[in-house]
Every structure is written in structure tokens, then in C-alpha cells.
Symmetry: C2
Subunit: 455 residues, 2 copies
């Protein structure tokens, strides 16, 4: 994506001068929040006027809201915590320790506490955990005028500002949906049931949030109701929550593809120790996997001793396998996440990647052969058998790239088939898998083409 | 993200049986579209009843809509193309050849054609290219009742189904916004200007779509108006477009981080030749960069010949540098895209990554040393100087991992500073940069610790 214009960064440079913290405006604080130390956060938050402070509080992530709540005096907490809609309150509560949870729940009124406790029972990443239990609702048998009066009253309470109301019968079962526009244009005296749409798209409570986000893309709705197994409406998921989900899921996938555990907080807010923990785990696993290359090379020690020139191309060969495998796994993981490729498409992917791997391997083989020939012509570096050496390099590049491409594209399918996250097939993971086999392919090609000359 | 349940895939398996194409339902077609050959697409599209066919057409991507439009008889095109809102029509037109553009523009009515041509002047990835020029509007000086009558009339036309109307003066300048709810609750006789909110968030036409998407996140609005330099309202960007933007930008970043050019079409729809072109470019660049490793190793040929055991650890050392560099660059690129890290944070990132690199390098150094000692105890593989060899490995791992981490974290800053896309610092690019220097570090450590014993 394009970099934002620089003057904005320059303006901010002035804004975060620590000496000037007290004067920070709402916009500056929104921009600079992650850069401030906790004390400055509290101080500048309390320096804002009430409406700005409310905007700032609602703008912050659940993580930052929790931190702030426990940094301000205890007697001020209630007013701030009660600003949150039940779903946001539940998200915040999931950020804090069990004993802090009790404190926070105690701050809520009876009705909201019941809503929040119900929401806490849902997994954070399914439709139930995403939904807001407050929404505009009407009965099917009332008239349009009654509905408008009723909705006007509900508008005073905290409900999402949606352009429609859901029609629920006396058992809380979802019967239809009616837009404000339909209410506007209906004839007086008509009943809600006469103007409502009955083909309502809804989702079960346990639907995974990624599936929910894809449903929003296909239906282009602003909100989707969540219903339980009996068809009773439990809440709504709104499009603005889905933007967060899409962004968050992409971040998790990117971090996994990069060979890191998911950070779970903004980069600058992860403590150094936590950062090492998140990265060290995978690095250590990859390292241990990679020690197999030392074993593999030990197996070909004799060949290396005989023809040191062979060793020179080892990094080139294995990195080519790793790079092509990394490309393939990244593309397939993303295509899976977008729903463009599904489990049963594996055979089509095999076909495509076989062709790609062969083509890409061919290109690199040509480059490799040319490189050996050119270097030899320039410096005579590779001795009388340089053509055979070039052919060895070329042959193994075709093999290694083809192999890397196949492993990289199939591993996400295998992981998903076993109900693991396909993104676990990170680029470095595939590279490590391919390195050992890449060495085998290279030295096998060498034995095949160089025995009797270099070997 | 969690894999969706399998029964869905199984259900689909039956649905895409080519023999059964004609019977595909709307839902099945939405799921299976990318898997069908073009002829089956047209056939099953034309087999749908009109409302389902309309839903399907509106559901498809601009690319697929264009393909379909030019696959059905020419006399049917007008009806389908006119279903699209001006912004969607403009997106579709950008998918086709210049001569096809003229055909399509000729299908539109005068007003829509003017709207579409105006939209085509904007870059695809800025606010102007994203906006819809149709929205509900009212004058500030009319009464609430007049506004409701007027909006009711506009509702019949195709405008986005938003819960608010924008208040424009006679010069088309944006003066405020009024929600349907405010219209509901206003007293009869009040004027729009009395109930409208005047602090309207708006964006200029040229704002980058990624910035627009971040503004939606901070403001939690359902739509944001786009205004020109004179404050005249040109259209609105709606939240549902932003979901697509967020998803698309993440896809582009993931593909770049994986070392591929951006595909620009779903994985299964990219032709094999195009796929090789998108991947071959970077692979070839990385390969040429990586040939420097062969040169670097040639420089240490004498050491390798003397102590073949040294060669065994080359893949281990350089892959550790590449993996840690890949982690760092991936985390920093994503943090930049999310706005968590900005250009001027580079020094804080240096601090953090120096600490991380040292810690991670230390962990791998320990693992490497233990591996040499263990392998030696088990097989006596590394000769009498195995402790010195282990120390060489350990020292170079600290150096290589620290170096990889610093390069990986700083490269995105450097690229962005030079106004390039930080995501160009892909993991394989960083790994390639680090491989050559990793070899230097390794052999320098060897000269330092092994001269007089192994060397």
C-alpha cells in the first residue's frame, strides 16, 4: 500500500514531545496513544474535557481500555465502564485477571451484567462472542405508527444505529426485518408483518467469525442477526465489528506466515521478554529441524572433500527451494483464507503448482548454468569440468524448485485436512523442510553427473 | 483461523458435479463460481430465475461480472449492466479492454454515464475511486416533514441504504448530516438545520484507500462523505467497500511478504503463464542475489578444504539468520500497515530488535553448541577440536541472528523513507541479504576461534 504523506508524520513529531503531553488534543492522543508511557496516558486522558475523553475511551482497544480503567481512581471507574455496550464490556473483561473481572462486573447495572455474563460464555472468535445483544426490535402485529413510536423510545437507549429493526414474535423468534425506509413509505394503518421482509439472513451462535465475515461480503448487509438453535434471536453482529475481524485475522495469518506466534497486542506494546517468547519458540523448532542439514551434509562429506566447488553452491540451491516453497505456501494459505481454494481443490492446485514449479525451476536452472559458465570464463574458477558442474547445478535447481513448490502448496492442505490452521505451514517452516531434501537432491545430481570427473 | 467444518465441503462436492450443473442453486453457484468453466457459468446463470440471477450478478466480482457480460447475448447486456450502481459499473469498466468500454458506456442512461465517466477519472485506490456518487441528500432550510417526503421519493431511486442523509447547500457544499432517527424524533415544524449534526467527518477525493479504511476504524461510521477542495460533496464511501479494501490490502501485503508480485485475481483464476511471471521475477532476482553466496564461499574455499566439518553447518547458520530476519521484517511491515509503528519510531524499534536479536541469538547459540557436543559424544563426528567448533557455531549464531533481526526490522523503514512500499522487504529478500553476510560472520568467527587447530 502507498505510504501516507510525510507531513503527517512530521506534525506528529511535535505532538508527542513528552514535555508537551498535557496539551495533546483528542486527535493527537488517538494517534499517539501507543507511544505514551502509562502515566502520560492517564494524565492526558484526565486532562481532556468530558466529551473528548468519552470519544477517546470508546476509540481505544479493549486492552488499552482495561489498562486505563485500572490506572484511574477506583471511584471514577463505574462511569467509564458503563459507557461500553455489552459486547465491548465483555471484550474488555476478557482482557483482565479473574479478580479484576469481579470488580468490573460489580460496576454494571443488573440488566447489563446479565447480558455481559451471557456473552462471556461464547468463544471470543465466534458469532456469539462478536454480537451485541442490544438492537431495535418490534412485534409483527403492531401497526407502522406504533412501531415508529416504539422505535423512537428505543432510540433513547443504547442500541446500534442501524437503519432497520428486527421483527420478533412473543417467543423471541426472528420473523422478519423492516427498514426505516419501509416504515417511512408504508401506508398508515398497515401492520409490521405486512411490510417486513421475511427472508432474513441469520447465523448460528457458534459460527466462526471468519465465516461470518465472508457472509457479510456475499450479502452486503450492515448487520446480521445471531439466532440460537431454536431460532430465538440473541443479538446482532454489525459490519464495523467485521472490519476489525478481517484486519485481525489477516494480521494473525501474516505473523504465522512470517514464522512467529501471534503477538496478540500491537508491536510496540509487546514486552521484550514476551517478544522473544513469541519468536523464540518457532526459531528453535526451525533450528532443530535445520540441524538435519548438518547430518545430511555429513553423509556427503566425502563428496565435499573431493570437490570443494560443490559446497559453494549449497546456499544457492537450498535457498532457491526455500524461496519457491515459501511463495507457494503463502499464496495457497491466503487463497484458502479468502475461500478461493478449498480442501477438495487440492488436485487442481497440484496440477497448477507442478506446472509452475517446472517453469520456475527451468528459469533458475538456466540462470544457474549461465552463472557457472560466465564465472568460469571470467576467472577459470571451476576447473576443466565446469560444464558438468553447471549441469549438476541446473538439474538440481529444477528438482529443488519443483519439490519446494509441491511441498509448499500441499502442506496447507495437509494441515487443514488434519484440522490444523493452514497458516502453520509458514514460509520458514516449508524452507526448513525443503532444505534437507534439497541437499539430497543436489548431491544425488552430483553423483549422477560428476562421478568419474570431479567425484 | 479455524478451518470450517468439513460437511460443508462435502456438500459442495456433490454440488459441483459437472453433470449436475443446470440444477445449481443460487447459494451453490456463489460457492462454486470460481470452479466452473466459463460455459457452465453462463449456462447456470441463465438457468436461474430472475431474482436469483440478479443476486448472483451483484454478488460476483467486477472481473467475473465483466466476463459474464461478454459471454451472454449482446441484447441481454443492457439489462444486467444497468443493475449496477455507478461505482460498481466503473469498477467493471476498468476490467475490460478500451473498445469494450465504449460498448458498456453506451448501455447506460445519460445521467449514469456521466457519473461513471467522472468516477473513471479517479485512481482505483483512492477515496474518489471508492466512492458512490449516489446518496440521500436534503437542503438545510426545509422542514423535517418536507425532508421525510423528499427522502421517501429518493428512496425509490438507487441510493445506498444508509441510516442518514447529508445536508447540502445550493452550492453542493456539505453542511451537516441528519440521521433517520433524528428525523423520527424531531418535532414537526423544526427545520433540518436545527437537528442536523454539523461536525461531519469527510475525506478529500485523493485520500489513499488505506487511510480511508483506518478512518472508518477510528470513527466507527457506516459511511464517510468525499468532498473536493472547495468543500463540495462528490459522493460517499461506505463501510462495506472498506471491508473489501482491508481484505485486499492484506492480501497484497501477504503476497509481497511471501516474495511474489501481487496476483490481482483469485489464485485459481490466474493463468499458469501469468503465475510463473508473477513469481519468476522475484525468484530470479533472489537467485542472482544469492549467487553472491557462491562468491563469498569461494573466498573461504581454503578453510572449507581444510576443515570440511565447517561446511556442514553452513545451511544451519544462514537459515537461522534468514528466519530471524524474516520474522522481524514481517512483524514490522504489518505493524506499519496497521499504523502501530510509524517512520519516526525507528529508533524505538532498533532498541527492541537489538534486545530481541541478542536474546534469540543466545537461545540458538546454546542449542547449536549443545547439538555439536551431543553429536560428538554420540558419534565422535567432529574430532578433537569439537568444543572450538561448537564455540564457532555459537558465536556466529549470535552474530547472524542479531544481524538478521536488525536488517529485517530496519529495511521496511528504509524503504518507506524512500517512498517505496515497506512490504517489498519480503522475508526471502531479507534472507538473501542476510545469507551473504551470514557466511562472512561464520567464517570470520571460524578464523578467530579455529586458527591453529582446525584451520
Amino acid at each position: 500500500m502507498a505510504a501516507p504523506p510525510y507531513d503527517e508524520d512530521d506534525r506528529m513529531l511535535a505532538a508527542v514531545d513528552p514535555e508537551a503531553t498535557e496539551q495533546l488534543s483528542l486527535e493527537d492522543l488517538q494517534d499517539a496513544w501507543s507511544l505514551l508511557v502509562p502515566e502520560d496516558r492517564v494524565e492526558s486522558f484526565r486532562a481532556l474535557n468530558r466529551p473528548d475523553a468519552e470519544d477517546l475511551f470508546l476509540f481505544l482497544s479493549s486492552h488499552d481500555q482495561a489498562e486505563l480503567l485500572f490506572s484511574i481512581p477506583a471511584n471514577e471507574r463505574r462511569a467509564w465502564f458503563r459507557l461500553l455496550a455489552p459486547d465491548d464490556a465483555a471484550d474488555l473483561i476478557q482482557e483482565v485477571d479473574p479478580e479484576q473481572r469481579e470488580i468490573l462486573l460489580g460496576l454494571l447495572d443488573e440488566q447489563t451484567r446479565r447480558d455481559v455474563v451471557a456473552l462471556l460464555a461464547y468463544a471470543e472468535d465466534d458469532a456469539g462472542g462478536l454480537m451485541n445483544p442490544r438492537y431495535a426490535r418490534v412485534r409483527p402485529d403492531i401497526t407502522i405508527d406504533e412501531a415508529i413510536t416504539y422505535l423512537r423510545r428505543q432510540a433513547a437507549e443504547r442500541t446500534e444505529s442501524l437503519p432497520y429493526a428486527y421483527v420478533l414474535d412473543q417467543d423471541q423468534k426472528l420473523r422478519g426485518v423492516v427498514s426505516y425506509r419501509e416504515l417511512f413509505t408504508a401506508r398508515t394503518g398497515q401492520r409490521v408483518a405486512e411490510v417486513m421482509a421475511t427472508d432474513v439472513v441469520s447465523v448460528p451462535e457458534a459460527m466462526d467469525q471468519e465465516e461470518v465475515s465472508q457472509l457479510f461480503t456475499t450479502t452486503r448487509l450492515l448487520a446480521i442477526p445471531v439466532v440460537d438453535a431454536q431460532g430465538r434471536m440473541k443479538g446482532i453482529v454489525t459490519l464495523d465489528d467485521v472490519v476489525d475481524v478481517v484486519r485481525e485475522e489477516a494480521t494473525e495469518d501474516i505473523q504465522k506466515i512470517g514464522g512467529t506466534a501471534v503477538l496478540e497486542a500491537p508491536y510496540l506494546q509487546v514486552t521484550p521478554i514476551e517478544m522473544i517468547r513469541k519468536r523464540g519458540g518457532w526459531l528453535a523448532v526451525l533450528f532443530v529441524g535445520e540441524t538435519l542439514t548438518a547430518a545430511a551434509m555429513g553423509y556427503f562429506q566425502l563428496e565435499i572433500a573431493k570437490a570443494v566447488a560443490l559446497a559453494l553452491f549449497i546456499p544457492l540451491v537450498i535457498s532457491s527451494g526455500g524461496n519457491s516453497g515459501g511463495q507457494a505456501t503463502t499464496l495457497v494459505i491466503r487463497a484458502m483464507a479468502l475461500g478461493e481454494v478449498r480442501l477438495r481443490d487440492w488436485w487442481r492446485v497440484v496440477h497448477r503448482e507442478f506446472f509452475s514449479g517446472l517453469g520456475l525451476g527451468g528459469i533458475l536452472a538456466l540462470l544457474g548454468f549461465l552463472q557457472v559458465v560466465t564465472m568460469h570464463r571470467v576467472s577459470g574458477a571451476y576447473g576443466p569440468h565446469y560444464l558438468a558442474l553447471g549441469a549438476t547445478l541446473a538439474l538440481s535447481l529444477v528438482g529443488v524448485v519443483l519439490w519446494g513448490t509441491m511441498v509448499g502448496s500441499m502442506l496447507p492442505f495437509l494441515l487443514r485436512r488434519m484440522n490444523f490452521d493452514p497458516a502453520t505451514a509458514s514460509a520458514p517452516f516449508v524452507a526448513t523442510l525443503v532444505d534437507v531434501t534439497g541437499l539430497m537432491i543436489y548431491f544425488t545430481a552430483a553423483r549422477l553427473l560428476l562421478t568419474g570427473t570431479l567425484l
